[in-house]
């Protein structure tokens, strides 16, 4: 199951953080700092997996943004790598050519998309189309 998902830029600023396990506020900061340090200096050619404490972090870099998912050690690395890409594709579709500022200014919508995508630490929707449709429905309600 997914423990948390993090979006950070190269400077280590968190753009999105969702924890599916209860963590203390101070612990969250520590986690964000550690994950950033783990992924930021890795070469683009390196593997997209790093061990993190007793779990592992699957990350992917898009321009200056790092998408990191922390999962159990037995989880399927490649599947989560694909799901990160799917998430980015959804964001890209939704914001039409997404950039970091989109995420900053529409943080609540990003959370909405994420909530459609992942529930209780489990991927619950793998269809891009379904999520986009659902989002436009929610948009209408605003």
């Amino acid at each position: 199951m997914i423990r948390f998902i993090l979006l950070q830029n190269r400077q280590g600023k968190t753009r999105l953080a969702k924890y599916y396990v209860p963590l203390e506020e101070s612990e969250k900061h520590k986690v964000e700092y550690e994950v950033h340090r783990l992924v930021v200096n890795r070469d683009a050619k390196f593997t997209n997996f790093v061990e993190f404490r007793t779990h592992k972090v699957i990350y992917r870099r898009y321009a200056g943004l790092f998408f990191s998912v922390c999962v159990d050690i037995t989880d399927n690395e490649l599947a989560y790598l694909e799901s990160i890409h799917l998430f980015v594709e959804i964001l890209d579709h939704f914001f039409s050519n997404v950039c970091e500022l989109d995420l900053v200014f529409n943080f609540h919508k990003v959370y909405l998309i994420l909530d459609e995508f992942i529930l209780a630490g489990e991927l619950q929707e793998t269809s891009k189309r379904a999520i986009i449709e659902r989002m436009s429905e929610l948009e209408k309600l605003q």
């Binding site: 593997t47 997996f49 529930l119 209780a120 793998t126 269809s127 379904a130």
Partner: protein, 886 residues
């Protein structure tokens, strides 16, 4: 709406401005100002102002780490709004900031219930999302019936989310299983792919925690495995089977074929890898599947994608313990991965190589690794060294046959420029020296090579190695061909770079070398021919037993020269040791010359030297961490009783007993040392070189007196504490004896003991400390949950009757002739015991265990039965099954 939009714009505009400003001014000012605004706005009676303030706060909390726990009550207020957008903001704030300790948590139960019952599916899904994140024991209990209703919802969106929430609800409130489990199981046959994905995800998570309880559902999972075309679902189902096959080996045979089929068919690497992992971890006894998986691993290993290479190595490391051939077949690729740029890949390859080390290939693998260590970056280099050291020293050097080779390898490690594992290498050098008598010659040779190299002294990571080498050369000097050379190396000018503690060992080793050389010199039966003939003696090339007057006097000279400057050094340890040696030299020096002239074999000097040799000749063996426990308990010694009032009863009579007891408890080595020291004292009285020789009786008598006075404390501390205590005691006594020399050897011994006993516990501790905080919670909840699920799956008698929801209809139909009255009783008796215990009684009195039923159902699916194979009928199942349960 319009006003809220403008406000929102306002926030983001300022925030953007600040982003730019922040580069010059820093953002703390802006942040605190916005927080002030928010604190004001959030108290507003206007709900939309309130909700926007809350949204801003949520934003600051998420991205800038601002504390928002103080706004918990406001979040609850916002959630109660009838407008969807406010509600959404409120729920978002709650999910973000609430935890189990939030005081207003109780206030949202009703709101959640209201929203879960709402006709608006979006509101329902907001509430479900919220529950999935913050659900506590109470919330889960109170809202179970709502979740149950939603599981039957006709709206796919709601149903899907309700399924996701079930995981949390089960985890927090085990009785929810009785209510919801049947509906959950029904969804395993859902035709809606979204629902199926959700439910498979839930079962995957549940199975990980407790596979045994879900064995009866194997047929359903099998159907998904065969029918599904969704890679994500297949991955989850494979994970389920990986767990189930471990508890029910016969399942492995069943699922091997479909998994092989998947491996051949799929193009998705993630699914392919999951198949591989399932096979290597759980189906490794299925030959065809394993062969196919290993073939696929090979494809991964040679792939350009590093991710795949890494996963290939990872899969190999899973299979390595049982099927080493798979690794050996791919050895080339593994070795090649050692030079990969990615540290992950390198580390995985290293672990893999270490996993295949045995006594036949240890030298080959170490050779390969050493070559890589020289080329690698410092971090990986030390990782390699550490792995070799660990693998080779395991179980007291179990895999090492040729210790000469291993010692030279240790020497080689010390010369790797990046080496930082000096502590461990030094420890092993000494450890081997004390454990393996036959390796001492080589140890001395390796030590000599390390000591005479002045370059090594500059690297402080190597000092522990040098210290070990110095100790070994002194302790085992009789194996050395060239004591003179060693003394020279021990006294070389660059030793000033060493830490005082190491330097003290150097000096002490010099002492041992000197004593040994003198011993040989004096004990030579015939006086050596005229010193003038022995030209080459001082060069150290002559054999040991040919020590001449000239060589011995030049040895004495260089030692004197090297140490005289240290007699005034600041470090007391170094100073004392230097003075000891110098004092000894001063005493013996003029006798050396006499030896040539007097021809007398029994001189005072030779006696003194013999005593010194005696001091050093006591061999130091390895001591196990449990040594203290092996000391037999003296007869009549009460360890468990409080002796407080004993003194009153026995008075003076008791004390001598206490004394003798504690003596016999101490180590024999201390007795030996005190014995030789005592000898020395008596014979050296005329020499009067060691002025402190009167100390032992004095201190001993003090000690005895102290013991007499505090006899009770001595007894209790020695019996309850292990060797550490009594050792400290030894050291104390030793400290007061004149030579003060054995301490160095003894302190080594101490260190060794610590090293021997500690490494493993330390590793365990690390693991525990690093886990995310939630882990213990989850695992502690497992057992009652599994109990509940087993109850649900097996449809227990009384409980079932009491339950309205007859949720195991479909399973029950397969389960015939099962009496369940007594089970209930046993279950209650077993209480919270392990799952194995709770399932055990079932076989005894029921015709079929749930597992059998599951398998029988599996077998009854006609297409599953391979033609010509024995049918998995019930009787045979029963027979096969028995051993597993008993």
């Amino acid at each position: 709406m319009a006003s809220s939009n403008s406000l929102m714009d306002n926030l983001f505009q300022r925030s953007l401005e600040d982003l730019i400003k922040g580069l010059r001014l820093g953002e703390s000012f802006f942040l605190s100002k916005s927080l002030e605004d928010i604190r004001r706005e959030i108290k507003s009676t206007d709900l939309s102002t309130k909700s926007i303030a809350l949204q801003k706060l949520t934003y600051l909390a998420a991205l800038h780490g601002v504390d928002m726990s103080w706004a918990a009550f406001h979040a609850v207020e916002v959630v109660s709004s009838s407008r969807f957008s406010d509600k959404r903001i409120g729920y978002h704030a709650i999910t973000q900031s609430f935890n189990d300790q939030t005081p207003v948590l109780l206030l949202i139960t009703n709101q959640l219930r209201k929203d879960l019952n709402s006709s608006n599916e979006h509101e329902v899904s907001l509430a479900l999302e919220c529950l999935s994140r913050i659900g506590t024991d109470d919330l889960a209990r109170d809202l179970t019936s709502e979740v149950f209703t939603l599981l039957g919802s006709s709206k796919a969106l709601v149903k899907k989310k309700a399924i996701g929430v079930v995981l949390r609800v089960f985890d927090k409130y085990h009785d929810a299983v009785k209510v919801c489990f049947k509906r959950l199981v029904e969804n395993l046959e859902s035709s809606d792919p979204q629902i199926l994905s959700a439910v498979v995800g839930v079962f995957c998570e549940l199975t990980t925690k407790d596979p045994r309880s879900y064995l009866p559902l194997a047929p359903e999972f099998y159907k998904i495995l065969v029918d599904s075309r969704n890679n994500w679902d297949l991955i989850k189902v494979l994970k389920i089977f990986a767990k189930l096959a471990l508890v029910e080996p016969r399942l492995a045979k069943k699922v091997a074929d479909p998994i092989c089929e998947l491996m051949r068919r799929t193009v998705g690497k993630s699914l392919l890898f999951e198949c591989i992992r399932t096979v290597v971890s759980s189906l490794s006894d299925q030959e065809t599947a394993l062969k196919l998986a290993v073939a696929k691993i090979r494809e991964f290993l040679v792939d350009d994608d590093r991710n795949l290479k890494y996963l290939g190595l990872h899969a190999l490391s899973i299979v390595a313990p049982k099927h080493l051939w798979a690794v050996l077949e791919n050895k080339e690729a593994v070795v090649k991965a050692l030079s990969d740029e990615d540290p992950n890949v390198k580390l995985e390859a290293l672990h893999l190589l270490m996993s295949m080390v045995n006594e036949d290939n240890v030298s080959e693998i170490s050779r390969i690794l050493m070559n890589y260590a020289i080329k690698s970056d410092p971090l990986f280099c030390n990782e390699i060294i550490a792995s070799i050291l660990l693998a080779c020293s395991r179980n007291s050097y179990e895999i090492i046959v040729d210790f000469d080779w291993y010692l030279s390898l240790l020497g080689e490690m010390a010369r790797i420029p990046h080496c930082q594992r000096g502590q461990e290498i030094g420890h092993q050098l000494i450890d081997i020296g004390t454990r393996v008598k036959d390796a001492r010659l080589e140890l001395v040779r390796v030590s000599r090579a390390l000591l005479i190299d002045p370059a090594l002294l500059g690297n402080q990571f190597l000092h522990p190695i040098l210290s070990a080498a110095a100790w070994a050369s002194g302790e085992f000097v009789e194996f050395s061909k060239t004591p003179y050379e060693i003394a020279e190396a021990l006294l070389q000018p660059r030793t000033s770079l060493l830490a005082p503690s190491v330097r003290a060992i150097y000096i002490h080793s010099t002492f041992k070398v000197l004593v040994f050389s003198l011993g040989v010199y004096f004990s030579a039966q015939e006086p050596t021919s005229s010193p003038l003939f022995e030209e080459s003696a001082s060069s150290g090339s002559s054999p040991v037993n040919g020590i001449t007057y000239k060589s011995i006097s030049s040895l004495v000279n260089i030692i004197e020269l090297g140490l005289c400057s240290l007699s005034g050094t600041l470090d007391v340890e170094v100073q004392e040791r230097a003075k000891n040696v110098l004092g000894f030299i001063g005493m013996i020096k003029h006798k050396i010359a006499e030896k040539v002239t007097t021809q007398e074999s029994e001189t005072e000097a030779s006696r003194a030297v013999a005593f010194m040799e005696d001091v050093f000749s006591e061999e130091l063996g390895p001591v196990t961490s449990t040594a203290q426990e092996k000391v037999p308990l003296p007869h009549g010694l009460e360890l468990k009783e409080s002796l407080e009032d004993l003194q009153e009863i026995c008075g003076e009579f008791l004390k001598p007993v206490v004394d003798s007891n504690s003596n016999s408890n101490s180590f024999s080595s201390s007795e030996n040392i005190s014995f030789s020291v005592a000898k020395l004292r008596i014979s050296d009285q005329e020499e009067a070189s060691s002025s402190s020789s009167s100390h032992p009786p004095e201190s001993a008598s003090l000690l005895a007196e102290h013991r007499k006075r505090h006899g009770l404390y001595y007894l209790s501390s020695q019996k309850s504490d292990d060797h550490n205590d009594s050792n400290g005691d030894n050291n104390n006594t030793l400290n007061e004896y004149p030579p003060a020399n054995e301490i160095s050897a003894d302190s080594f011994n101490n260190k060794k003991k610590r090293n021997q006993s500690k490494p493993r516990p330390v590793v365990v501790k690390l693991d525990e400390g690093d886990e995310l905080k939630t882990k213990p919670n989850v695992s502690s909840n497992d057992e009652p949950l599994s109990l509940a699920i087993q109850t649900a799956l097996m449809g227990k008698g009384k409980e079932k009757e009491r339950e309205k929801y007859n949720h195991e209809r479909d399973l029950d139909s397969r389960i015939k002739g099962r009496s369940s009255g007594r089970e209930n009783k046993t279950k209650k008796k077993n209480g919270e015991k392990s799952t194995l215990h709770s399932t055990k009684p079932m076989v005894e009195k029921t015709t079929l265990s749930p597992l059998h039923m599951g398998l029988a159902a599996l077998a009854s699916m006609s297409r599953l039965l391979p033609p010509g194979q024995e049918s998995l009928g019930e009787p045979s199942l029963e027979q096969k099954g028995k051993p597993m349960w008993s």
